[in-house]
């Protein structure tokens, strides 16, 4: 799996690369428009993460030239500008997703995975983890072949965990993933706790294992280790 990261802020770029490496992605980072054009024309990537405001050009133009060569690459825009116009333009010219800085790395990871899954032509769009099986298109979950009835939030939570397995996911990242910006943090932590408790119970009722580990004062980790 090859990813091209186009981000001029080096430290942020390093962080993203470091996080992606653990996913066994091959993550190449470039820091300006010119380098990006070169890479895009030479190699094929499964996903491109692009900042709109590059010192020597606009990320939107990169997307346009990608679409000109009929590339099937998935595109995620990351921008410091939370501007609806940019978002609309970006999505209109063919980007798959739009993230506003500052974002949580697990969020970016989940979005990349979702895009790659959707582009996995021919193959079955499914997420497997031990005895858990998720069909994202149908929004179906099963444990050991038995289907699991989850609420929307529980389902979102499970997919988010599965995208970031073996990682510590902070409560803030979960809250933002489930409710967006408008939620009161103190309240949302309580709700996360309730949802996780229910999710855990539902999986275990069907004979599944308890994969959700609580990292005290910090967040949760979805792992079988």
């Amino acid at each position: 799996m090859k990813i091209l990261l186009i981000e001029d802020e080096k430290e942020l770029s390093y962080s993203i690369s470091a996080y992606m490496q653990k996913e066994n992605y091959l993550c190449e980072a470039v820091f300006n428009f010119e380098q990006a054009v070169e890479k895009i024309n030479l190699y094929h990537y499964d996903c491109i993460i692009v900042d709109i405001n590059l010192p020597d050009g606009s990320g939107l133009n990169l997307i346009r030239s990608l679409k000109e060569i009929k590339s099937e690459t998935g595109i995620i825009i990351i921008s410091a500008r939370n501007s609806l116009d940019d978002k609309i333009t970006g999505l209109e010219i063919g980007a798959d997703d739009y993230l506003t800085k500052p974002f949580h790395l697990p969020e970016l990871n989940a979005r990349i995975k979702s895009i790659i899954r959707r582009r996995n032509f021919g193959g079955v769009n499914e997420i497997l983890f031990n005895d858990l099986r998720v069909l994202p298109e149908q929004m179906e979950v099963s444990v050991r072949g038995q289907s699991l009835v989850l609420t929307k939030k529980e389902y979102d939570l499970l997919v988010f965990f599965l995208s970031n397995r073996d990682r510590v996911v902070t409560r803030e990242a979960i809250a933002e993933h489930l409710w967006g910006d408008e939620m009161d943090m103190a309240d949302s932590f309580d709700f996360i706790y309730t949802h996780i408790k229910n999710l855990r119970k539902k999986i275990m009722e069907k004979g599944g294992e308890d994969y959700i580990k609580t990292i005290y004062g910090m967040g949760y980790k979805f792992t079988d280790q």
Partner: protein, 425 residues
């Protein structure tokens, strides 16, 4: 009081005062002059009487000569020379009442070695009549002069102050965040020109500072986003380290929460400056009912968690003409406010009327002045973790669409009424 009323009024008051004082002085002066003249005549008559007696050595009936009362008496034992002139009250046969007379009395011993007393009375009535006539005609002249002057003054003042009122009008219409600079009417009066120049200079400076500050706010908030993103990403990498102990986790968690708060604050400030910079031009028809229902759905967990009941009374179908993003933020912030500052098992009531809607919620009494409710960084003591920008953003959006918000409190119920909302027909 208007400037014109004030000047006209003072003008009239002062004129009347001057008239009364000068009238009194004038009257006295006139009175004295006439008295003096009368006294001169009395003395002349007395001398005439004395001369006549001296010549003829007899006392004729002087009354026939002068036509008024003269009384001459021969004294048997003359004492000394003396005399005076005074005012006296006597019966006036011509008027038929008592009237004021000027009375000359003299006692003379030197005429023909005999003594006489002479009393001459002269009525004051003629001179008083004259004085009265003079005073009345003068008063008439004065009053008409006063009226004329007041009128002239009124019209001149009004004309002179016209540029001032125009300047005032333009000034009151001026808003610092409008795109055009302050325009003031031309005038040929030096003071108003000076006023214009000063105002122009001031407004230019204020505008410059305002734009500068606005730009600074936006840039600062914007520039903060990237370092915040870096901090967040580094913290997320740090969290992944296997060998962190509980204490270190706690430290990282605290940094994480603080960073999240800064980032939320920053987003709020960015949003406010964007609203102020009018960056949400695009408007759509937004169904208020649907928007509120959707938002309540969004907050469902919070509402259930706090045991709050929500009742809705939609009496009209209202469609707002607003930017859809701002409309969503507007309603979200209002409802979030009503939920957050509610009590456990409280109540929220939403009313949609024809051109207004109200959101009413139970809650504790405000500890701050309700007038400051919409200011930035006003937080309630019950909720110290909130950023304190929610209602300020609401106010900003309301200003943008010229909606008005009113806060009311009555027996444990806080009501926010949003009226003159931007509806489409």
């Amino acid at each position: 009081m208007k400037l014109l009323t004030r000047t006209s009024r003072s003008y009239i008051y002062i004129s009347i005062l001057v008239f009364i004082i000068s009238g009194l002085v004038f009257y006295n002066l006139l009175h004295n002059i006439f008295k003096h003249q009368l006294d001169d005549t009395l003395i002349e008559e007395k001398m005439l009487v004395e001369q006549t007696i001296n010549y003829s050595d007899s006392v004729p009936d002087f009354r026939l000569v002068f036509g008024h009362m003269i009384d001459v008496t021969i004294l048997n034992s003359p004492q000394k020379n003396r005399g005076f002139i005074s005012d006296t009250l006597m019966y006036d046969s011509e008027l038929g009442t008592f009237a004021s007379f000027r009375h000359l009395f003299t006692e003379n011993t030197s005429i023909r070695h005999k003594g006489y007393t002479i009393n001459i009375y002269k009525p004051l009535r003629d001179s008083e009549k004259l004085i009265a006539e003079i005073v009345i005609s003068l008063a008439l002249v004065f009053v008409s002069l006063l009226l004329l002057l007041v009128l002239v003054n009124y019209f001149i003042t009004r004309r002179v102050w016209i540029p001032f009122y125009r300047i005032l009008h333009n000034l009151s219409k001026y808003e610092i965040n409008q795109s055009e600079p302050l325009e003031l009417p031309q005038t040929d009066i030096y003071e108003f020109q000076l006023l214009n120049q000063t105002l122009q200079k001031m407004s230019k400076k204020i505008r410059f500072d305002y734009l500068n500050l606005k730009e600074f706010n936006e840039n600062a908030a914007h520039e903060l986003q990237t370092p915040l993103a870096i901090i967040k990403s580094k913290l997320e990498l740090l969290v992944q380290k296997e060998n962190l102990d509980e204490n270190q986790h706690r430290l990282v968690s605290a940094i994480f929460e603080a960073t999240t708060r800064i980032s939320k604050l920053n987003q709020g400030l960015l949003l406010i400056s964007k609203i102020e910079n009018n960056q949400f031009i695009h408007t759509e028809d937004v169904n208020l009912e649907q928007l509120i229902d959707k938002t309540i759905c969004h907050f469902e967990e919070m509402i259930d968690h706090r045991g709050i009941t929500v009742s809705k009374k939609y009496q009209h179908r209202v469609t707002l003409k607003m930017n859809p993003v701002l409309a969503e933020i507007f309603i979200t912030n209002l409802l979030s406010n009503a939920i957050r500052h509610n009590i456990y098992q409280g109540h929220i009531e939403i009313h949609i009327l024809k051109d207004s809607f109200t959101i009413e919620n139970t809650g504790q009494l405000l500890k701050t002045d309700p007038r400051n409710l919409f200011e930035r960084f006003r937080k309630s003591a019950n909720n110290p973790d909130s950023v304190g920008l929610g209602l300020s953003i609401v106010q900003n959006i309301a200003n943008l669409y010229r909606m008005k918000i009113e806060y009311m409190y009555h027996e444990g119920l806080h009501t926010l009424k949003i009226f003159s909302i931007n509806i489409t027909n």
